[in-house]
Amino acid sequence: MVAVRALLKTRRTGLALYGTAMALLPLMFSNDYYVKVLIILGINILIVLGLNLLMGYAGQVSIGHAAFYGMGAYASAIVTTKYGMSPWFGLLASIILGGIVAYGIAIPTLRLKGHYLAMATLGFAEIVHVLFLQLKDITGGTDGISGISTLSIAGFLFDSPQKLYILVWIVVMAGLIISINLANSRVGRALRAVHGSEIAAASMGIDTAKYKIQIFVLSAVFACIGGSLYAHMAGFVSPDSFTLGVSITLVTMVVLGGMANVWGAIIGASTLTILEEYLKGYEDFNMVIFGLILVLVMVFMPQGLYGAGTRVIGLIKRRFKLIPDTAGEESAAS
């Protein structure tokens, strides 16, 4: 029992368990549609992991990540359809484009605080959305771009959802490992200090501007990779997929899961993606139920699902005297 608990406590075990579960998940579904949903889920998890680093650890709210998601998708679409290059160049182009734009935007934006920062990212995303619609020669306007080729490695085409899922799984696991390591590294501690008090962090010798910019760029690159994968899966991109609503949904996933926790990000992204998908059967009522659930969860579990979950587990443990009464509080704080 003790050995099992000790095993569960190590980060690597959690990672391995999650990784195995996610790898086996598509085997449960014979239907391509569900595997596509799982791919979208993987993409959402990747973006939310990045956004969680920015919001949960560095404390910088971005309501504009749909812009990076979209830029990644469009970069891939344009490079492969207009220039006929390999989709891998598309992925590379989207990473480079996203990184450069994010860096350029981060320098003036991250000087802003609180709601003004949120507004600046929102404004940026709205401008990018208008550009998707209006630069018709490059982006195809409202029609978008279709006929985006699928990814392949050495002749192996990721041309079915099952095959592409493998790739998405690898990318999500990489993103997860990067996030976990970053959160528990010197950078993660520095970011948490910035979140607590930027001035105090700066006076302790932390280069707050540098860390904020780095994490913003990293989260943008995660979103761009997500966008690129999306473009190659769907074979089609249009401005409708990258609206303000998408940015808000991404932020909601972070908060719903519980901020500043990698597993919270995964839980938030999974819950909302699956809920949205499940409610599609309810026609007109689906978004009413969606909104109601969102409000209820936040009203009754303000720390998010992960926070509420660890709290319940702590209560159960104390009830059955698995741990002494004093312990179990750290879960709520982490």
Partner: protein, 293 residues
Amino acid sequence: MHFDQFLQYLISGITSGSIYALIALGFTLIHNSTKLINFAQGEFVMLGGLIAISLYSAAGLPLIIAIPISIILVAIVGIVFERLAIRPLRNSSNITLIIVTVGVSILLKNVAMILWGRDPQSLPAFTGDKPIALFGATITPQALWVIAVTVITVVLLQVFYKRSIVGKAMKASAINPPAANLMGINTSNIVMLSFAMSAGFGAMAGVLITPISMTGYSVGGFLGLKGFAGAVLGGLDNPVGAVLGGVVLGIIESLSIGIIDSGYKDAVAFFILLLVLFIRPSGILGDKVREKV
């Protein structure tokens, strides 16, 4: 651009800017009392318009009765919203509350879709729609209503803040809630009042704009966004600044249609907004706050 053309764009800019200003005012009221950004602000506008339409065309009430009832009903929605979703969470983090307002916004929008359907509907103009000529440009009577009501609202709000005891209490709670509480002000009632007023101003904007640009269940998001941008442009904590910001945003948008292309009007408006934020991060009239450790 000729002068008369310029004037025409200016007039339409001031008209839509006045609507943004009323919405922006709602944002500052709630922000001042709770430090929140209420993402459901635009839904108040939508509800105001749609309820007035139903009272007028389905219940057959005259406009002069339908409009105030609609505003009061939406104000009640604001109060219920505050009591059920905001008050239980007053000790939670800001971002949690903002997500709650996102949830309420989704909820209101889709309930409205079920109740009123997907098609936008309209109201007749308050006093006919014969355009009035003005230095080579024209202005509709409804646009005059929009501008006049906004100006009167702003003036009355200033009187309310300066002269009435409730207004002063509101101002005090915005500056320092614990101190206001110690002075015997019931700050929790002030928060509720700010939601009621904010919802009421939103509904007013909705009623005013419906004869010009129709109202459907989905207009809230877009209008809320413009109002928020206006509020940030002027300074989120300053009602006068927010009104100014809303009007300026409307004018910039309208002129950019004339100068560049209508497809880019949102991009131009947000570009200016970003520029203002980068140069003056606290808005045109916002207070510069020095952060203490």
